[in-house]
């Protein structure tokens, strides 16, 4: 039982790291970015190539899996995302779905359509027992890394100057501009960090979630659920939503395999009926 809880927490933490960037950018610019999973996939493939082909150690590959999607994110943000901010949600949806399709086909072309795996270091394989609870070493590592990221994000958002600027920009971009905050730069940085985190999540999760060219499509619904249930503009909301999603998904697949995937949708529907604006949102959303 506790093992399942443990796996669920690891899974949820992964989802959090994957989706938190999306929740902030969505809250900040009211921009619906369905292509968020593309950056996660980019991170995953960077890690695969670097570890498997070039023989770089796994831990050295993780920063790369963060940096490359982040740079990619900034470049795309600066060049093609920006004109779409002011458009209707329909245009944004079409645009980002277009990007997803292009990335799926491009990765398929370059890397092939089969699932790929990362060679993990020996030290991370297997599991050990603590009071009869089986704990996978790799999952423990994920929980530690993602937990640290969560704490760091919370700290950065609440206690740093950049964090207060970001929160101001989320609450009211126009007033924030009036106060001399360069909202565009704040956004570009946030976008880069969000994409980078997604990439890191993709690299860490390649082993657990499975990595293939369909990744952005398969996990689109998970990202949407995390953001819609967790609400935007805070770290704790998406964090709790991810944990809820992760634990219920793993538990659902284990206990009622016949229903499996329905569990998360049922939860989504219940939450939506109960709190249409999201479980942890602060009042109104725009």
């Amino acid at each position: 039982m506790l093992t399942i809880l443990f796996d669920g927490v690891a899974y949820g933490m992964l989802l959090f790291v994957l989706a938190c960037g999306l929740s902030v950018t969505l809250g900040l610019m009211n921009f619906i970015n369905l292509a968020h999973g593309t950056f996660a996939m980019a991170g995953g493939y960077v890690a695969v190539v670097v570890v498997n082909r070039l023989g770089v150690p796994f831990f050295a590959a993780l920063p790369l899996a963060f940096v490359i999607p982040a740079v990619l994110g900034v470049i795309l943000e600066r060049t093609i995302y920006r004109p779409v901010y002011a458009r209707s949600h329909l245009d944004q949806v079409l645009f980002t779905i277009g990007l997803v399709f292009m990335s799926v086909a491009a990765v398929d072309y370059v890397a092939g359509s089969q699932q790929v795996f990362i060679q993990l270091p020996r030290a991370l394989e297997g599991q050990f027992n603590v009071f009869g609870v089986g704990i996978g070493k790799y999952r423990l590592l994920i929980i530690v890394i993602c937990g640290l990221i969560g704490v760091a994000l919370q700290y950065a958002l609440v206690h740093t100057r950049f964090g207060s600027r970001l929160r101001a920009a989320v609450d009211d971009p126009r007033a924030a501009r009036g106060l001399g905050i360069n909202v565009n730069v704040v956004f570009a940085i946030t976008f880069a960090v969000g994409s980078g985190l997604a990439g890191l999540g993709g690299a860490l999760g390649a082993e657990i979630l499975g990595l293939d060219p369909q990744f952005p499509l398969k996990f689109m619904i998970y990202f949407l659920i995390v953001v819609a249930v967790g609400g935007t503009s805070s770290v704790t909301g998406p964090f709790l939503a991810s944990l809820l999603l992760g634990i219920s998904d793993v538990a659902g697949k284990y206990y009622v395999p016949k229903l499996g995937a329905f569990v998360i949708y049922t939860i989504m529907i219940v939450v939506l009926l109960w709190r249409p604006q999201g479980l942890f949102s602060r009042g109104s959303t725009r």
Partner: protein, 333 residues
């Protein structure tokens, strides 16, 4: 707020609606040409049937996006539901006659649309995207799991569709199928046109423009959205049922996300909010698919994606500039 004393206002609204609903020359030409394809292009009836079905499906999404402003990422849910319903009706001989089976499938899908509309209409655009996508994924999962009923990943096999009205058997080159699909499309188009130019359609536009303000002037926003969602679902279901009946086969593919996404492409190619967008988009989409699939079948998705990105970056208004004159002629008197 139209009370008994405002008879002249009601008359004025009715007059303007009637004027807008007037048939334009170009519209008549469009349908005349469509009618001619039955006789002039007998060798192309198979692909023309596909176009008609896709056009009907796109029309259904246009009712949602173009007139009510409801975004959907999972419209294939209703298409697929209708497709499976028609398939099961035919396979188990519940309703043998195709036309009545089509109506029944449409009604069943409408019921599903009505039930799910309450979920979809809550919350913002983001939650709508999530829920519509979620609904389609759930249906696909159900179809996949209950393979005893649906055939699972192998698809629903062994469907034999009875002759239409007991007289016209579906032939291999698809002549009956095409005339049948076209007739259904035309009838449903007329109904949609009637809805759009009714006071109900007018109030929908107000809801699309600004739901809050529409509610403030006394328009019941929610039940209007529920209705249009139900209608759109029924349209999609009928389109799906048509596909099953004309292809005599139905697979999980009808519920896939790609189908919903392709539909958005179709609609954006043709333009939203003037009824013909879906039909024109369906023609363009199928022709492009045919053409690109000849060159590079495997990476067709890439080109769809690129098309979307370019259309949005160039600006769908400017892109529609090509179709602008047609649109204007169709829209205004």
């Amino acid at each position: 707020m139209i009370g008994p004393g405002s008879g002249s206002l009601t008359a004025a609204v009715a007059y303007h609606l009637a004027r807008r609903a007037h048939w334009r020359g170009l519209e008549i030409a469009f349908w005349a040409i469509t009618l001619l394809t039955i006789f002039l292009l007998p060798g192309k009836h198979l692909i023309l049937t596909e176009i008609a079905i896709l056009g009907l499906f796109a029309l259904s999404l246009d009712l949602l996006i173009g007139y009510a402003g409801v975004l959907s990422l999972g419209h294939a849910a209703y298409f697929g539901f209708g497709a499976y319903a028609a398939g099961l009706f035919a396979k188990h001989g519940i309703i043998g006659e195709p036309f009545f089976a089509l109506l029944a499938a449409g009604l069943a899908t409408a019921a599903l649309g009505f039930a799910t509309s309450f979920l979809v209409l809550r919350g913002s655009d983001l939650t709508r995207l999530m829920v519509t996508l979620g609904v389609s994924l759930v249906l696909r999962e159900i179809a996949n799991r209950y393979d005893g009923l649906t055939g699972g990943a192998d698809g629903l096999q062994g469907i034999t569709v009875a002759p239409l009205f007991g007289r016209f058997a579906f032939d291999i080159s698809g002549h009956v199928a095409y005339v049948y699909s076209l007739a259904v499309l035309f009838i449903l188009f007329l109904v949609a046109r009637r809805i759009i130019y009714s006071p109900f359609g007018l109030s929908l536009r107000a809801v699309k423009g600004n739901p809050l303000r529409a509610a403030a002037i006394g328009i019941g926003v929610n039940w209007r959205l529920v209705w249009i969602y139900t209608i759109a679902a029924a349209y999609a279901g009928i389109a799906g049922a048509l596909l099953t009946q004309t292809a005599q086969f139905c697979s999980l593919d009808v519920l896939s996300f790609d189908r919903s996404a392709d539909l958005l492409v179709v609609l954006i190619l043709g333009g939203t909010g003037y009824l013909y967008g879906g039909l024109i988009g369906a023609i363009l989409f199928k022709l492009a698919q045919d053409w690109i699939a000849g060159i590079t079948p495997q990476y067709w998705q890439f080109w769809i994606g690129l098309t979307l990105v370019v259309i949005v970056l160039v600006g769908s208004e400017r892109m529609a500039g090509l179709l602008g004159p047609i649109r204007k002629l169709v829209q205004k008197a």
